[in-house]
Protein backbone atom coordinates (compact mmCIF):
# COMPACT_ATOMS: atom_id res chain seq x y z
CA UNK A 1 0.00 0.00 0.00
CA UNK A 2 1.67 3.23 -1.09
CA UNK A 3 1.91 6.33 1.08
CA UNK A 4 -0.68 8.94 0.11
CA UNK A 5 -0.50 12.72 0.09
CA UNK A 6 -3.05 12.49 2.89
CA UNK A 7 -0.48 10.58 4.96
CA UNK A 8 2.06 13.24 4.08
CA UNK A 9 -0.27 15.97 5.31
CA UNK A 10 -0.95 14.05 8.52
CA UNK A 11 2.77 13.74 8.96
CA UNK A 12 3.36 17.48 8.48
CA UNK A 13 0.65 18.40 10.97
CA UNK A 14 2.10 15.99 13.51
CA UNK A 15 5.59 17.40 12.90
CA UNK A 16 4.27 20.86 13.72
CA UNK A 17 2.70 19.53 16.91
CA UNK A 18 5.85 17.74 17.99
CA UNK A 19 8.00 20.76 17.28
CA UNK A 20 5.65 22.94 19.30
CA UNK A 21 5.71 20.44 22.16
CA UNK A 22 9.51 20.42 22.07
CA UNK A 23 9.96 24.14 21.59
CA UNK A 24 11.46 24.82 25.02
CA UNK A 25 13.52 21.63 24.92
CA UNK A 26 15.14 22.48 21.59
CA UNK A 27 15.68 26.06 22.69
CA UNK A 28 17.30 24.92 25.92
CA UNK A 29 19.65 22.65 23.98
CA UNK A 30 20.50 25.62 21.75
CA UNK A 31 21.05 27.84 24.80
CA UNK A 32 23.78 25.51 25.98
CA UNK A 33 25.89 25.62 22.81
CA UNK A 34 24.15 28.10 20.54
CA UNK A 35 21.91 31.13 20.85
CA UNK A 36 18.74 29.76 22.37
CA UNK A 37 16.45 30.07 19.40
CA UNK A 38 16.28 26.74 17.61
CA UNK A 39 12.96 25.62 19.10
CA UNK A 40 11.44 29.08 18.74
CA UNK A 41 12.55 29.31 15.11
CA UNK A 42 11.36 25.84 14.12
CA UNK A 43 8.03 26.36 15.83
CA UNK A 44 7.47 29.64 14.02
CA UNK A 45 8.41 27.96 10.74
CA UNK A 46 6.17 24.92 11.08
CA UNK A 47 3.23 27.06 12.14
CA UNK A 48 3.75 29.22 9.05
CA UNK A 49 4.06 26.12 6.88
CA UNK A 50 0.74 24.73 8.11
CA UNK A 51 -0.93 28.00 7.23
CA UNK A 52 0.27 27.71 3.67
CA UNK A 53 -0.89 24.13 3.21
CA UNK A 54 -4.66 24.48 2.60
CA UNK A 55 -4.38 25.79 -1.00
CA UNK A 56 -2.05 22.92 -1.99
CA UNK A 57 -3.61 20.07 -0.03
CA UNK A 58 -4.96 18.42 -3.16
CA UNK A 59 -1.72 18.90 -5.07
CA UNK A 60 1.06 16.35 -5.57
CA UNK A 61 3.58 15.46 -2.87
CA UNK A 62 6.26 17.53 -4.58
CA UNK A 63 4.18 20.70 -4.46
CA UNK A 64 3.24 20.11 -0.85
CA UNK A 65 6.83 19.59 0.25
CA UNK A 66 8.11 22.56 -1.74
CA UNK A 67 5.43 24.73 -0.18
CA UNK A 68 6.66 23.66 3.24
CA UNK A 69 10.27 24.24 2.22
CA UNK A 70 9.59 27.76 0.96
CA UNK A 71 7.62 28.54 4.12
CA UNK A 72 10.49 27.34 6.28
CA UNK A 73 13.05 29.34 4.31
CA UNK A 74 11.01 32.50 4.61
CA UNK A 75 10.01 32.24 8.27
CA UNK A 76 12.57 30.21 10.24
CA UNK A 77 15.70 32.26 9.66
CA UNK A 78 19.00 31.38 11.32
CA UNK A 79 20.82 28.27 10.15
CA UNK A 80 17.77 26.09 10.56
CA UNK A 81 15.73 27.97 7.97
CA UNK A 82 17.89 27.52 4.89
CA UNK A 83 18.89 23.99 5.94
CA UNK A 84 15.43 22.56 6.65
CA UNK A 85 13.96 24.69 3.88
CA UNK A 86 16.41 23.31 1.38
CA UNK A 87 15.82 19.79 2.70
CA UNK A 88 12.06 20.00 2.13
CA UNK A 89 12.45 21.73 -1.22
CA UNK A 90 14.91 19.11 -2.47
CA UNK A 91 12.65 16.33 -1.24
CA UNK A 92 9.80 18.02 -3.06
CA UNK A 93 11.80 18.15 -6.28
CA UNK A 94 12.21 14.36 -6.44
CA UNK A 95 8.53 13.83 -5.66
CA UNK A 96 7.24 16.23 -8.32
CA UNK A 97 3.93 15.03 -9.82
CA UNK A 98 3.54 12.09 -7.40
CA UNK A 99 0.34 11.47 -5.46
CA UNK A 100 1.30 8.04 -4.20
CA UNK A 101 4.70 7.24 -2.81
CA UNK A 102 6.36 3.85 -2.95
CA UNK A 103 8.98 3.08 -0.26
CA UNK A 104 11.71 3.91 -2.79
CA UNK A 105 10.17 7.36 -3.26
CA UNK A 106 10.36 7.98 0.45
CA UNK A 107 14.01 6.95 0.44
CA UNK A 108 14.76 9.11 -2.57
CA UNK A 109 13.09 12.09 -0.92
CA UNK A 110 14.96 11.70 2.35
CA UNK A 111 18.22 11.18 0.50
CA UNK A 112 17.57 14.35 -1.52
CA UNK A 113 16.86 16.18 1.74
CA UNK A 114 20.20 15.05 3.13
CA UNK A 115 22.04 16.07 -0.04
CA UNK A 116 20.35 19.45 0.15
CA UNK A 117 21.48 19.99 3.72
CA UNK A 118 25.05 19.01 2.88
CA UNK A 119 25.09 21.14 -0.29
CA UNK A 120 23.86 24.16 1.68
CA UNK A 121 25.81 23.73 4.92
CA UNK A 122 28.94 21.85 3.87
CA UNK A 123 28.97 19.89 7.11
CA UNK A 124 30.81 16.58 7.36
CA UNK A 125 29.77 13.61 9.45
CA UNK A 126 31.01 14.17 12.98
CA UNK A 127 30.77 17.98 12.84
CA UNK A 128 27.96 17.86 15.42
CA UNK A 129 25.07 18.98 13.24
CA UNK A 130 21.75 17.70 11.96
CA UNK A 131 23.77 15.82 9.35
CA UNK A 132 24.83 13.44 12.13
CA UNK A 133 21.22 12.43 12.67
CA UNK A 134 20.02 12.55 9.07
CA UNK A 135 22.86 10.56 7.52
CA UNK A 136 22.43 7.39 9.65
CA UNK A 137 18.66 7.69 9.23
CA UNK A 138 18.90 7.64 5.43
CA UNK A 139 21.41 4.79 5.58
CA UNK A 140 19.18 2.76 7.89
CA UNK A 141 16.16 3.38 5.69
CA UNK A 142 18.04 2.27 2.59
CA UNK A 143 19.35 -0.87 4.30
CA UNK A 144 16.00 -1.83 5.77
CA UNK A 145 14.28 -1.47 2.41
CA UNK A 146 17.04 -3.50 0.75
CA UNK A 147 16.38 -6.18 3.36
CA UNK A 148 12.73 -6.22 2.38
CA UNK A 149 11.25 -4.31 5.33
CA UNK A 150 7.91 -2.60 4.80
CA UNK A 151 7.77 1.20 4.97
CA UNK A 152 6.66 1.26 8.61
CA UNK A 153 9.49 -0.98 9.78
CA UNK A 154 12.01 0.76 7.59
CA UNK A 155 11.07 4.21 8.90
CA UNK A 156 11.23 2.82 12.43
CA UNK A 157 14.81 1.76 11.71
CA UNK A 158 15.51 5.22 10.32
CA UNK A 159 14.09 6.92 13.41
CA UNK A 160 16.11 4.66 15.70
CA UNK A 161 19.25 5.43 13.72
CA UNK A 162 18.49 9.16 13.90
CA UNK A 163 18.02 8.86 17.64
CA UNK A 164 21.35 7.12 17.98
CA UNK A 165 22.95 9.71 15.70
CA UNK A 166 21.48 12.46 17.81
CA UNK A 167 22.89 10.94 20.99
CA UNK A 168 26.24 10.43 19.32
CA UNK A 169 26.52 14.18 18.90
CA UNK A 170 26.88 14.58 22.67
CA UNK A 171 30.60 13.77 22.92
CA UNK A 172 31.42 15.49 19.62
CA UNK A 173 33.37 18.70 19.30
CA UNK A 174 31.35 21.01 17.06
CA UNK A 175 33.03 22.12 13.84
CA UNK A 176 30.12 23.84 12.11
CA UNK A 177 27.51 26.38 13.16
CA UNK A 178 27.52 28.51 16.28
CA UNK A 179 28.48 25.67 18.59
CA UNK A 180 31.88 25.52 16.87
CA UNK A 181 32.85 28.82 18.54
CA UNK A 182 32.76 27.08 21.88
CA UNK A 183 35.57 24.71 20.99
CA UNK A 184 36.02 22.14 23.74
CA UNK A 185 33.06 23.58 25.63
CA UNK A 186 30.72 22.19 22.98
CA UNK A 187 31.58 18.66 24.13
CA UNK A 188 28.99 17.02 26.37
CA UNK A 189 25.97 18.72 24.86
CA UNK A 190 23.47 17.26 22.40
CA UNK A 191 23.14 19.16 19.14
CA UNK A 192 19.77 20.92 18.82
CA UNK A 193 19.57 20.50 15.04
CA UNK A 194 20.28 16.78 15.29
CA UNK A 195 17.57 16.62 17.91
CA UNK A 196 14.94 18.32 15.77
CA UNK A 197 15.91 16.05 12.89
CA UNK A 198 15.34 13.00 15.09
CA UNK A 199 11.98 14.37 16.23
CA UNK A 200 10.83 14.77 12.64
CA UNK A 201 11.91 11.24 11.74
CA UNK A 202 10.20 9.90 14.84
CA UNK A 203 6.96 11.46 13.59
CA UNK A 204 7.39 9.84 10.18
CA UNK A 205 7.94 6.44 11.75
CA UNK A 206 4.97 6.82 14.10
CA UNK A 207 2.59 7.89 11.34
CA UNK A 208 3.76 5.02 9.15
CA UNK A 209 3.34 2.49 11.96
CA UNK A 210 -0.16 3.68 12.80
CA UNK A 211 -1.24 3.35 9.18
CA UNK A 212 0.91 0.59 7.73
CA UNK A 213 2.52 -1.15 10.70
Amino acid sequence: MPVTTQDLLTCLHRMAEVIEANREYLTALDAAIGDADHGINMDRGFKAALKRLPPVEDKDAGTILKTVGVALVSTVGGAGGPLYGTAFMQAGTVLGGKYELEPQDVLAALDAALQGVVMRGKANLGDKTMVDALTPAVNALREALQNGANIADALEQAALAAEQGMKDTIPMLAKKGRASYLGERSIGHQDPGATSTYLLLRVMADVAREKYG
Binding site: A31, A36, I40
Partner: protein, 357 residues
Protein backbone atom coordinates in the same frame (compact mmCIF):
# COMPACT_ATOMS: atom_id res chain seq x y z
CA UNK B 1 11.96 38.51 32.60
CA UNK B 2 11.66 42.29 32.93
CA UNK B 3 11.36 44.16 29.70
CA UNK B 4 9.64 47.23 28.31
CA UNK B 5 7.66 45.18 25.82
CA UNK B 6 4.16 43.99 25.20
CA UNK B 7 3.93 40.40 23.92
CA UNK B 8 7.35 38.81 23.31
CA UNK B 9 6.28 37.67 19.85
CA UNK B 10 5.46 41.28 18.86
CA UNK B 11 8.76 42.85 19.88
CA UNK B 12 10.35 43.13 16.44
CA UNK B 13 7.12 44.17 14.71
CA UNK B 14 6.39 46.91 17.26
CA UNK B 15 10.00 48.06 17.24
CA UNK B 16 9.73 48.52 13.48
CA UNK B 17 6.44 50.37 13.81
CA UNK B 18 8.08 52.68 16.33
CA UNK B 19 11.09 53.27 14.11
CA UNK B 20 8.84 54.21 11.21
CA UNK B 21 7.08 56.81 13.38
CA UNK B 22 10.25 58.04 15.08
CA UNK B 23 12.55 58.70 12.14
CA UNK B 24 10.33 59.52 9.16
CA UNK B 25 12.89 61.95 7.75
CA UNK B 26 15.53 59.22 7.54
CA UNK B 27 13.87 55.85 7.00
CA UNK B 28 10.77 53.99 5.94
CA UNK B 29 9.75 50.53 7.05
CA UNK B 30 8.32 47.74 4.91
CA UNK B 31 6.37 44.94 6.59
CA UNK B 32 5.94 41.33 5.44
CA UNK B 33 8.68 40.88 4.59
CA UNK B 34 10.29 43.24 7.09
CA UNK B 35 12.98 45.70 6.18
CA UNK B 36 14.00 49.28 6.94
CA UNK B 37 15.05 51.42 4.00
CA UNK B 38 16.21 54.91 3.20
CA UNK B 39 13.41 57.42 3.00
CA UNK B 40 14.70 58.59 -0.41
CA UNK B 41 15.33 55.13 -1.89
CA UNK B 42 16.02 54.14 -4.56
CA UNK B 43 18.82 56.59 -5.26
CA UNK B 44 19.28 56.49 -9.01
CA UNK B 45 22.71 55.39 -10.17
CA UNK B 46 24.01 54.68 -6.68
CA UNK B 47 25.14 51.27 -5.51
CA UNK B 48 22.72 50.08 -2.82
CA UNK B 49 24.35 48.82 0.37
CA UNK B 50 22.24 46.38 2.37
CA UNK B 51 22.91 44.50 5.54
CA UNK B 52 20.87 42.55 8.01
CA UNK B 53 20.95 40.08 10.81
CA UNK B 54 19.09 39.13 13.92
CA UNK B 55 17.45 41.88 15.94
CA UNK B 56 18.71 42.71 19.43
CA UNK B 57 21.94 44.34 18.20
CA UNK B 58 20.46 47.84 17.93
CA UNK B 59 21.38 50.33 16.59
CA UNK B 60 22.93 47.85 14.14
CA UNK B 61 21.66 47.43 11.42
CA UNK B 62 18.39 49.35 11.19
CA UNK B 63 19.85 52.34 13.01
CA UNK B 64 22.46 52.70 10.29
CA UNK B 65 20.04 53.18 7.43
CA UNK B 66 20.17 56.65 5.94
CA UNK B 67 22.24 59.03 3.87
CA UNK B 68 25.89 57.99 3.77
CA UNK B 69 25.44 54.51 5.21
CA UNK B 70 22.97 51.68 4.50
CA UNK B 71 20.19 51.75 1.91
CA UNK B 72 18.33 48.98 3.69
CA UNK B 73 18.57 46.67 6.69
CA UNK B 74 16.77 43.35 7.15
CA UNK B 75 16.00 42.57 10.78
CA UNK B 76 15.39 38.97 11.75
CA UNK B 77 13.78 37.85 14.95
CA UNK B 78 15.92 38.52 18.02
CA UNK B 79 19.36 36.92 17.46
CA UNK B 80 18.03 34.99 14.47
CA UNK B 81 19.18 35.62 10.92
CA UNK B 82 16.56 37.22 8.69
CA UNK B 83 15.22 35.27 5.73
CA UNK B 84 16.00 35.46 2.00
CA UNK B 85 12.64 36.96 1.07
CA UNK B 86 13.37 39.99 3.26
CA UNK B 87 16.75 40.47 1.63
CA UNK B 88 15.33 39.99 -1.84
CA UNK B 89 12.49 42.46 -1.42
CA UNK B 90 14.82 44.99 0.21
CA UNK B 91 17.17 44.71 -2.76
CA UNK B 92 14.35 45.22 -5.22
CA UNK B 93 13.13 48.25 -3.30
CA UNK B 94 16.45 50.12 -3.02
CA UNK B 95 18.32 49.05 -6.15
CA UNK B 96 19.09 52.26 -8.04
CA UNK B 97 20.29 50.42 -11.12
CA UNK B 98 23.92 50.24 -10.04
CA UNK B 99 23.70 46.94 -8.20
CA UNK B 100 23.48 45.81 -4.61
CA UNK B 101 26.12 44.95 -2.04
CA UNK B 102 25.06 42.60 0.75
CA UNK B 103 27.31 43.06 3.79
CA UNK B 104 27.03 39.76 5.65
CA UNK B 105 28.30 38.91 9.10
CA UNK B 106 29.89 35.49 9.11
CA UNK B 107 27.37 33.32 10.91
CA UNK B 108 26.17 30.13 9.29
CA UNK B 109 22.58 31.34 9.23
CA UNK B 110 23.33 34.80 7.87
CA UNK B 111 25.68 33.45 5.23
CA UNK B 112 23.24 30.83 3.94
CA UNK B 113 20.25 33.15 3.93
CA UNK B 114 22.13 35.93 2.14
CA UNK B 115 23.49 33.46 -0.41
CA UNK B 116 19.99 32.22 -1.16
CA UNK B 117 18.77 35.81 -1.40
CA UNK B 118 21.56 36.77 -3.79
CA UNK B 119 20.76 33.81 -6.03
CA UNK B 120 17.09 34.72 -6.02
CA UNK B 121 17.85 38.40 -6.75
CA UNK B 122 20.14 37.50 -9.63
CA UNK B 123 17.42 35.21 -10.99
CA UNK B 124 15.25 38.33 -11.07
CA UNK B 125 17.89 40.27 -12.98
CA UNK B 126 19.58 42.27 -10.22
CA UNK B 127 23.35 42.61 -9.85
CA UNK B 128 24.29 41.48 -6.35
CA UNK B 129 27.57 40.81 -4.57
CA UNK B 130 27.99 39.43 -1.05
CA UNK B 131 30.96 40.39 1.13
CA UNK B 132 31.55 38.66 4.45
CA UNK B 133 32.72 40.30 7.65
CA UNK B 134 34.69 37.85 9.81
CA UNK B 135 36.77 39.79 12.30
CA UNK B 136 36.40 38.13 15.71
CA UNK B 137 39.85 37.03 16.86
CA UNK B 138 38.32 35.03 19.72
CA UNK B 139 37.75 32.36 17.07
CA UNK B 140 41.23 31.07 16.45
CA UNK B 141 41.07 28.76 13.45
CA UNK B 142 38.74 28.52 10.49
CA UNK B 143 39.33 24.84 9.74
CA UNK B 144 37.60 23.46 12.81
CA UNK B 145 34.97 26.15 13.20
CA UNK B 146 32.47 28.06 11.09
CA UNK B 147 35.24 30.70 10.87
CA UNK B 148 35.58 34.00 12.63
CA UNK B 149 32.33 35.71 13.48
CA UNK B 150 31.40 39.09 12.09
CA UNK B 151 31.34 41.63 14.90
CA UNK B 152 32.51 45.24 15.38
CA UNK B 153 34.14 45.71 11.98
CA UNK B 154 30.65 45.37 10.47
CA UNK B 155 29.67 48.82 11.75
CA UNK B 156 32.82 50.37 10.33
CA UNK B 157 32.40 48.61 6.97
CA UNK B 158 28.80 49.80 6.72
CA UNK B 159 29.87 53.41 7.34
CA UNK B 160 32.83 53.35 4.97
CA UNK B 161 31.09 51.45 2.16
CA UNK B 162 27.98 53.59 2.57
CA UNK B 163 30.10 56.70 2.08
CA UNK B 164 31.80 55.16 -0.95
CA UNK B 165 28.46 54.31 -2.55
CA UNK B 166 27.28 57.84 -1.85
CA UNK B 167 30.37 59.14 -3.66
CA UNK B 168 29.51 57.12 -6.75
CA UNK B 169 31.87 54.14 -6.48
CA UNK B 170 30.66 51.30 -8.72
CA UNK B 171 29.58 47.92 -7.29
CA UNK B 172 32.90 46.19 -7.79
CA UNK B 173 34.77 49.02 -6.11
CA UNK B 174 32.43 49.13 -3.12
CA UNK B 175 32.73 45.35 -2.74
CA UNK B 176 36.54 45.49 -2.97
CA UNK B 177 36.59 48.26 -0.37
CA UNK B 178 34.34 46.24 1.93
CA UNK B 179 36.65 43.24 1.67
CA UNK B 180 39.61 45.52 2.39
CA UNK B 181 37.91 46.93 5.49
CA UNK B 182 37.17 43.40 6.63
CA UNK B 183 40.72 42.08 6.34
CA UNK B 184 42.06 45.14 8.14
CA UNK B 185 39.65 44.97 11.07
CA UNK B 186 39.89 42.77 14.15
CA UNK B 187 37.67 42.58 17.21
CA UNK B 188 37.13 40.79 20.49
CA UNK B 189 34.41 41.02 23.13
CA UNK B 190 33.52 40.01 26.67
CA UNK B 191 30.46 39.90 28.88
CA UNK B 192 29.87 40.59 32.56
CA UNK B 193 26.24 39.49 32.36
CA UNK B 194 24.08 37.44 30.01
CA UNK B 195 20.96 38.77 28.30
CA UNK B 196 17.43 37.48 27.89
CA UNK B 197 15.85 36.87 24.49
CA UNK B 198 12.20 37.96 24.89
CA UNK B 199 10.83 34.76 23.34
CA UNK B 200 13.08 32.58 25.49
CA UNK B 201 12.16 34.42 28.70
CA UNK B 202 15.28 33.52 30.60
CA UNK B 203 18.97 34.44 30.42
CA UNK B 204 20.98 32.68 27.73
CA UNK B 205 23.56 31.61 30.29
CA UNK B 206 24.34 31.93 33.97
CA UNK B 207 27.39 33.65 35.38
CA UNK B 208 28.48 33.73 39.00
CA UNK B 209 28.96 37.10 40.72
CA UNK B 210 32.74 36.83 40.22
CA UNK B 211 32.82 35.45 36.70
CA UNK B 212 32.88 36.81 33.18
CA UNK B 213 32.73 35.36 29.69
CA UNK B 214 35.56 36.24 27.34
CA UNK B 215 35.50 35.83 23.59
CA UNK B 216 31.77 36.13 23.20
CA UNK B 217 29.93 36.81 19.99
CA UNK B 218 26.90 39.06 19.87
CA UNK B 219 24.08 36.58 20.35
CA UNK B 220 24.12 36.11 24.09
CA UNK B 221 25.92 32.84 23.55
CA UNK B 222 28.55 31.75 26.05
CA UNK B 223 32.05 32.80 25.04
CA UNK B 224 35.28 30.98 24.35
CA UNK B 225 36.30 31.00 27.98
CA UNK B 226 34.84 31.68 31.40
CA UNK B 227 37.15 33.52 33.78
CA UNK B 228 37.29 35.16 37.14
CA UNK B 229 36.31 38.82 36.96
CA UNK B 230 39.19 41.22 36.34
CA UNK B 231 39.63 44.97 36.43
CA UNK B 232 38.78 47.19 33.48
CA UNK B 233 42.48 47.68 32.76
CA UNK B 234 43.16 43.94 32.79
CA UNK B 235 40.17 43.21 30.59
CA UNK B 236 41.13 45.93 28.12
CA UNK B 237 44.67 44.63 28.00
CA UNK B 238 43.48 41.09 27.40
CA UNK B 239 41.21 42.10 24.53
CA UNK B 240 43.59 44.63 23.00
CA UNK B 241 46.62 42.35 23.08
CA UNK B 242 44.61 39.47 21.56
CA UNK B 243 43.73 41.82 18.72
CA UNK B 244 47.07 43.54 18.23
CA UNK B 245 49.17 40.37 18.44
CA UNK B 246 46.81 38.23 16.41
CA UNK B 247 48.94 36.57 13.73
CA UNK B 248 48.19 36.51 10.01
CA UNK B 249 44.79 34.91 9.48
CA UNK B 250 44.04 32.90 6.33
CA UNK B 251 40.77 31.34 5.30
CA UNK B 252 38.65 30.74 2.24
CA UNK B 253 35.28 32.38 1.91
CA UNK B 254 32.60 32.00 -0.72
CA UNK B 255 32.07 34.97 -3.01
CA UNK B 256 30.08 35.21 -6.21
CA UNK B 257 32.24 35.42 -9.35
CA UNK B 258 30.39 37.56 -11.88
CA UNK B 259 32.57 36.44 -14.81
CA UNK B 260 32.08 32.76 -14.09
CA UNK B 261 28.51 33.28 -12.96
CA UNK B 262 28.96 31.06 -9.91
CA UNK B 263 30.05 31.00 -6.28
CA UNK B 264 33.79 30.46 -5.88
CA UNK B 265 36.11 29.95 -2.94
CA UNK B 266 38.37 32.95 -2.39
CA UNK B 267 41.36 32.94 -0.09
CA UNK B 268 41.60 35.96 2.18
CA UNK B 269 44.51 36.98 4.39
CA UNK B 270 44.36 39.41 7.31
CA UNK B 271 47.82 40.89 7.76
CA UNK B 272 48.85 41.34 11.40
CA UNK B 273 49.16 44.82 12.92
CA UNK B 274 52.58 46.50 12.83
CA UNK B 275 54.12 49.49 14.55
CA UNK B 276 53.23 52.65 12.69
CA UNK B 277 49.82 51.39 11.52
CA UNK B 278 47.12 54.05 11.66
CA UNK B 279 44.00 52.67 13.29
CA UNK B 280 40.46 53.50 14.16
CA UNK B 281 39.89 52.48 17.80
CA UNK B 282 36.34 51.37 18.48
CA UNK B 283 35.15 50.72 22.05
CA UNK B 284 31.69 49.20 21.92
CA UNK B 285 29.20 48.62 24.70
CA UNK B 286 27.31 45.33 24.60
CA UNK B 287 24.19 47.31 25.47
CA UNK B 288 23.73 47.39 29.23
CA UNK B 289 27.12 48.80 30.19
CA UNK B 290 26.80 52.22 31.85
CA UNK B 291 28.30 54.92 29.64
CA UNK B 292 30.57 55.99 32.48
CA UNK B 293 32.61 52.82 31.97
CA UNK B 294 33.43 53.21 28.28
CA UNK B 295 35.99 56.03 28.62
CA UNK B 296 37.72 53.92 31.27
CA UNK B 297 38.17 51.19 28.66
CA UNK B 298 39.25 53.70 26.02
CA UNK B 299 41.80 55.22 28.37
CA UNK B 300 43.63 51.92 28.72
CA UNK B 301 43.24 51.03 25.04
CA UNK B 302 44.82 54.35 24.13
CA UNK B 303 47.78 53.63 26.39
CA UNK B 304 48.26 50.13 24.95
CA UNK B 305 48.05 51.33 21.35
CA UNK B 306 50.67 53.96 22.07
CA UNK B 307 52.94 51.39 23.65
CA UNK B 308 52.50 49.07 20.67
CA UNK B 309 53.18 51.85 18.17
CA UNK B 310 49.68 51.99 16.71
CA UNK B 311 48.56 55.50 15.84
CA UNK B 312 44.91 56.12 16.69
CA UNK B 313 43.61 58.42 13.94
CA UNK B 314 39.87 57.98 14.52
CA UNK B 315 37.71 56.76 17.39
CA UNK B 316 34.22 55.43 17.94
CA UNK B 317 33.00 54.98 21.50
CA UNK B 318 29.50 53.94 22.45
CA UNK B 319 26.87 51.31 21.92
CA UNK B 320 26.75 50.35 18.28
CA UNK B 321 26.59 46.55 18.03
CA UNK B 322 24.88 45.21 21.09
CA UNK B 323 23.35 42.11 22.65
CA UNK B 324 20.18 43.46 24.22
CA UNK B 325 20.85 44.42 27.86
CA UNK B 326 24.12 42.50 28.16
CA UNK B 327 26.82 44.26 30.16
CA UNK B 328 30.27 44.02 28.67
CA UNK B 329 32.28 45.49 25.86
CA UNK B 330 34.09 44.75 22.67
CA UNK B 331 37.11 46.38 21.13
CA UNK B 332 37.73 46.72 17.41
CA UNK B 333 40.86 48.05 15.75
CA UNK B 334 40.71 48.88 12.06
CA UNK B 335 43.89 49.62 10.14
CA UNK B 336 43.02 52.64 8.00
CA UNK B 337 44.47 54.08 4.82
CA UNK B 338 43.84 57.61 3.51
CA UNK B 339 40.84 56.53 1.47
CA UNK B 340 39.17 54.84 4.44
CA UNK B 341 39.82 57.84 6.69
CA UNK B 342 38.33 60.16 4.12
CA UNK B 343 35.24 57.97 3.72
CA UNK B 344 34.91 57.61 7.49
CA UNK B 345 34.81 61.39 7.82
CA UNK B 346 32.17 61.79 5.11
CA UNK B 347 28.75 63.00 6.26
CA UNK B 348 26.33 60.42 7.61
CA UNK B 349 22.76 60.84 8.73
CA UNK B 350 21.17 57.80 10.31
CA UNK B 351 19.30 57.27 13.60
CA UNK B 352 22.37 55.59 15.11
CA UNK B 353 25.34 57.46 13.64
CA UNK B 354 25.38 61.03 12.50
CA UNK B 355 27.78 63.80 11.65
CA UNK B 356 28.52 66.49 9.11
CA UNK B 357 24.89 66.75 8.03
Amino acid sequence: MKKLINRPEDVVKEELEGIALAFPDMVKVHFDPNFIYRADAPVRGKVAVISGGGSGHEPMHGGFVGVGMLDAACPGQVFTSPTPDQMLEAAKMVDGGAGVLYIVKNYTGDVMNFEMAADMARAEGLRVLNILIDDDVAVKDSLYTAGRRGVGTTVLAEKICGAAAERGYDLRRVADLCRRVNINGRSMGMALTPCTVPMAGKPTFELAEDEMEVGIGIHGEPGRERMKLKTADEITEMLAISIIEDPEYRRTVREFDEEKGEWVDVELVDPPFRRGDRVLAFVNSMGGTPDIELPIIYRKLHEICEKKGLIIVRRLIGRYITSLEMQGCSITLLRMDDEMIDLWDAPVKTPGLRWGI
